[in-house]
Amino acid sequence: MKQKVHVSTKVNTATTLGELRLKNPLTVASGTYGSGLQMADFVDLNSLGMLTTKGVSLIPWAGNAGIRMKEVSSGMLNSIGLQNPGVETFIEKDLAWLRAHVPELPVMVNICGHSARDYAAVIERLEGEPGIAGYEVNISCPNVSEGGHVFGATCEGAAEVTKLCREKTSRPMAVKLSPNVGNIADIARSVEEAGADSISLINTLLGTAIDARKRSFIFDRQFAGLSGPAIKPVALRMVVEVARAVKVPIIGMGGARSGLDVAEFLLAGASVVAIGTANFGDPLAVERIVHELEAFCAEEGVSDVTELIGAVA
């Protein structure tokens, strides 16, 4: 086994996401951390480089009926349905809490909608509110006017949402891509051209689970989103593909649960890495992973984590 050399390299973990300056390259995958305040009894939110909130829609969404989660091999399927109390409640309660309690923490507000105008309207409403570092536009929401296909399934749909949102904000704006496509690089390029400042990927892989004894789907909506370590190889591959296709920075995610995983995502081309499913097993996951990443860098003589970004050969 390789002897670990404990070099006393001082590691600078600070990174940037476009114009945003982050104290470390860790954020959380939208929906796994609430709007942050739910975690505050367990974790120091300031340990995050950036907070990404649960998706916020224009009006309250009730989310899906039936079972919402099933654990599968090295992962989980979820069918939450972006339940949220809507942008007004978000501003009044969550955002106010964040401003009051973690004023220094960059907050990326995740945006969802059932039409391109929905998304734009949420951003328009938030644009005047202080305490928001930027937006992450989730184009994996079902497009109600287009029969439920997600916006992220086509270059045109992805670009449309991006463009309308871009018009409403001068803040940094990430667009979060769906991985359930055959041309992730094309979609990334469309989104970049339409004005995204950064690209988040991957959202969950579309999967299903069946209860063989009941002969029924586990989920009322039949299909659900797969996350966790199971999808890490696919996520890494897509980050590599997108990093080669666009110039804007990438927020990489998909099954990362260790400092080594984060290093892999950085090497693949991500500037920031989101921890998702790993938060569930351990509310302190991000804190631990930041330490692991620092240790990895120290061992490898990396004095600045940004050295790793896109450095795979």
């Binding site: 975690m39 367990f42 939450i80 938060n279």
Partner: protein, 287 residues
């Protein structure tokens, strides 16, 4: 969505730590007693609350929520000397509990909590009716002890498939003032569902219950709550749903209530039975 409950729960300190297994042994078919060395958490946990247990199995990405059964006072236990120990009771339900059941003493697990709300005890509670079904009796044990210690008259009605599955019956027999039993196969107590003895107790004019606490399989909870409500008795139930984060972040475990969707992990697990929209809730039942 758990902002309200958060503000309330925030008053309670939370702990994320490592817990070592002190004992993990079968106490009935498919039923295990798990005693954990997690003293800070043991000191905090209230009757009806639960913890999340990270089994540290790489392929099982989610922690397991398990309700507190009781807390052992600090002192000698087995070969060692410990702070307060947290005891849980669990039943084999799937892959996670199966693996947990094979873990020897000394195994280190991740744990965080205490989570959720506690059984509510109004100040003027003089006589309480507890109804437990199967493993669902376990989350009532701490409550029974607390009520008895507070001078309250406690009646426990307990059901199970058979006499082996009357979880912690000895403890309830010792603790409670009255203890009625029912088994599906009649191997102990009333033959049939727990609703039989429950109905009798409710009809008995000598009883003057202030409140009912129900925990068990959902159909049993529904039936028992209906009987209590019909008798004009306020009933609280402890619900179970597939759960991920356990702390109100992911909205996996929502339950429809008359107040809107509520998180079993953060608004619950304990709800006033009248508030639960049982029919709507049915499609997300775990079992």
């Amino acid at each position: 969505m758990c902002k309200d409950s958060l503000q309330q729960a925030s008053k309670q300190k939370k702990v994320v730590c490592e817990a070592r297994i002190v004992e993990n042994s079968a106490v009935a078919p498919d039923t295990y007693a798990l005693i954990l060395d997690a003293s800070e958490l043991a000191e905090l946990v209230q009757p009806g609350q639960f913890i999340e247990l990270n089994l540290r199995q790489p392929d099982l990405v989610l922690p397991r929520p398990i309700s507190a059964y009781r807390v052992h006072e600090a002192g000698e236990y087995g070969d060692g000397s410990y702070g307060p120990l947290l005891e849980l009771r669990y039943q084999l339900m799937g892959e996670g509990t199966r693996r947990l059941s094979a873990m020897p003493a000394g195994t280190a697990l991740g744990i965080f909590g205490p989570l959720g709300n506690r059984w509510p005890v109004p100040e003027d509670t003089k006589s309480a009716l507890l109804v437990g079904g199967g493993i669902g009796s376990a989350p009532l044990a701490m409550l029974a002890q607390e009520l008895v210690d507070a001078g309250c008259e406690v009646t426990m009605v307990q059901g199970g498939r058979n006499s082996d599955l009357l979880v912690a019956a000895d403890l309830f027999e010792t603790t409670c003032h009255k203890h009625a039993l029912a088994t599906d196969d009649g191997s102990k107590g009333h033959k049939g569902f727990v609703t039989g003895p429950l109905q009798e107790l409710l009809e008995d004019a000598d009883n003057d219950f202030d409140i009912a606490y129900i925990c068990g399989p959902e159909p049993m909870q529904i039936a028992c709550a209906a009987l209590c409500e019909a008798a004009g008795l306020e009933a609280y139930v402890s619900l179970e749903r597939m759960m991920a984060c356990g702390i109100g972040a992911c909205l996996t475990c929502v339950i429809p209530t008359s107040k809107g969707p509520r998180g079993v992990c953060c608004h619950g697990p304990i709800f006033n039975s009248k508030e639960v929209l049982w029919d709507e809730a049915k499609s997300a039942r775990v079992h």
